[in-house]
């Protein structure tokens, strides 16, 4: 089945529940079939089907609630070049942060940041693919990704300092 495992994992991360992930994946396949004529051969199939999955999520009750908690500040305003690099002690290795800490930090990210970081780092999509999936310009992909990673780093560092 095309992209079944990736879609299920992404659906799980979006919704936070196995039951909802199943519903989302099932509905995505149905919608993909129904709207297959809208898929243009030669364009990116993965971005197309992930976009259906994401839109299905955003119109679900959990999705609508998740969007309500998104910060209102203008994320487009921050250019990727303006990323503030934290002066981290070398000894703090983020990799040491346990899997659970990373998962908790990911879950705590607002959905518009969580989705780009998952598409980039777990699905290994290019900026272009992410832009197509999320329907935002590439510049916004870069700024959201930078902010998402920076937030992850800050949260994990705080967790490390707390336990370390």
């Amino acid at each position: 089945m095309p992209l079944f495992d990736s879609m299920y994992n992404f659906a799980g991360w979006l919704s936070g529940s196995a039951q909802e992930a199943e519903d989302l994946v099932q509905e995505t396949y149905l919608k993909a079939l129904k709207g297959f004529s809208s898929f243009q051969p030669g364009t990116n199939f993965r971005a197309w089907i992930f976009r259906i999955l994401r839109n299905t999520f955003l119109t679900s009750r959990t999705g609508l609630e998740a969007l309500r908690t998104v910060p209102l500040e203008d994320d487009e305003a921050e250019a990727p070049a303006a990323v503030v690099i934290l002066d981290t002690p070398e000894s703090i290795l983020l990799e040491r942060a346990g899997q659970e800490a990373i998962q908790a930090a990911l879950s705590a990210l607002p959905v518009i940041f969580r989705e780009v970081i998952l598409l980039a780092d777990v699905e290994e999509m290019t900026y272009q693919e992410i832009a197509e999936t999320v329907s935002i310009p590439i510049g916004t992909v870069m700024s959201r990704l930078s902010r998402a990673r920076r937030t992850m780093r800050e949260v994990l560092q705080r967790a490390e300092e707390k336990h370390g």
Binding site: M1, L33, L93, L94, S146
Partner: protein, 250 residues
């Protein structure tokens, strides 16, 4: 150029989004600038952590079977799916066609093509193996409960091969073991699945034993189907395959 110019580009560099020219320049800069190199390492560590932790949700076998049945079966499982059977099959067919067209490979080599893809994709991943160990007695037990079969790994002492580690893989919705061996600077993937007619259909023929310049060996032993894939010489692949085959006879 100084660090201030390069630092903001590290993220795009690690995302492989810089131009070839900028990538080369960044490679060079990182060799010279320890502060940027340390920053790149920190960013890389975060990514690796996220990639590992990000594989969190796995579908239950039952859900997987249900969706597969709905997509591939001619007998719709529920009324709501009845209307969808034909377009579902069409979608699957189109997806496979797109895949075949993109990779330009004949459908008869589908299994082998998928395995070479798995081999290449795994080596390209930042964390190719889930269990990192050169000890077969560590790697083999890791698969307990993850694959529905057990297998033996050959003793490598005195051979040119080293075991890098293993990972769980899937082929046609069937879980399998993916082991990675090194010989010299080459990597060889050994895939093990429960043998099935579809996999036997992927048995290596003289025409397919070399796909996209990868050498491939396939054999069946005790109900399991093995594939060895890599860019090492065909002699090396055969030698490693021979070590696995001898296990069955011992």
């Amino acid at each position: 150029m100084d660090s201030d110019t390069w630092r903001p580009k590290i993220e795009r560099y690690l995302d492989a989004e810089l131009s070839d020219e900028e990538t080369r320049a960044m490679d060079e800069h990182l060799r010279e600038c320890s502060s940027c190199a340390a920053e790149a390492l920190r960013q890389l560590q975060l990514r690796r952590g996220i990639k590992q932790a990000g594989h969190r949700y796995a579908a239950s076998p039952e859900f997987r079977r249900r969706i597969a049945a709905q997509i591939f079966s001619r007998q719709p499982v529920s009324r709501s799916w009845r209307w969808a059977t034909v377009p579902v099959a069409a979608l699957a067919l189109v997806a496979i066609t797109i895949f075949s067209l993109r990779s330009g490979r004949p459908a008869s080599n589908r299994v082998l093509a998928e395995l070479t893809d798995l081999h290449v994709a795994t080596l390209a991943a930042s964390t190719p193996v889930d269990v990192v160990s050169s000890d077969r007695h560590t790697v083999k037990p890791w698969f307990q409960g993850k694959v529905p079969f057990t297998f033996d790994l050959p003793e490598l002492a005195g051979s040119p091969f080293t075991l890098v580690g293993g990972r769980l893989t899937y082929l046609d919705q069937e879980p399998g073991a993916h082991l990675i061996y090194d010989v010299g600077k080459h990597h060889i993937s050994v895939f093990i699945f429960r043998d099935q007619p579809e996999l036997a259909g992927g048995a290596v023929t003289p025409e397919s034993s070399q796909l996209l310049n990868f050498h491939i060996e396939s054999w069946n032993s005790q109900g399991l189907r093995y594939f060895a894939v890599g860019d090492a010489s065909s002699e090396s692949i055969q030698e490693l395959a021979g070590m696995f085959k001898r296990l069955a006879k011992d």
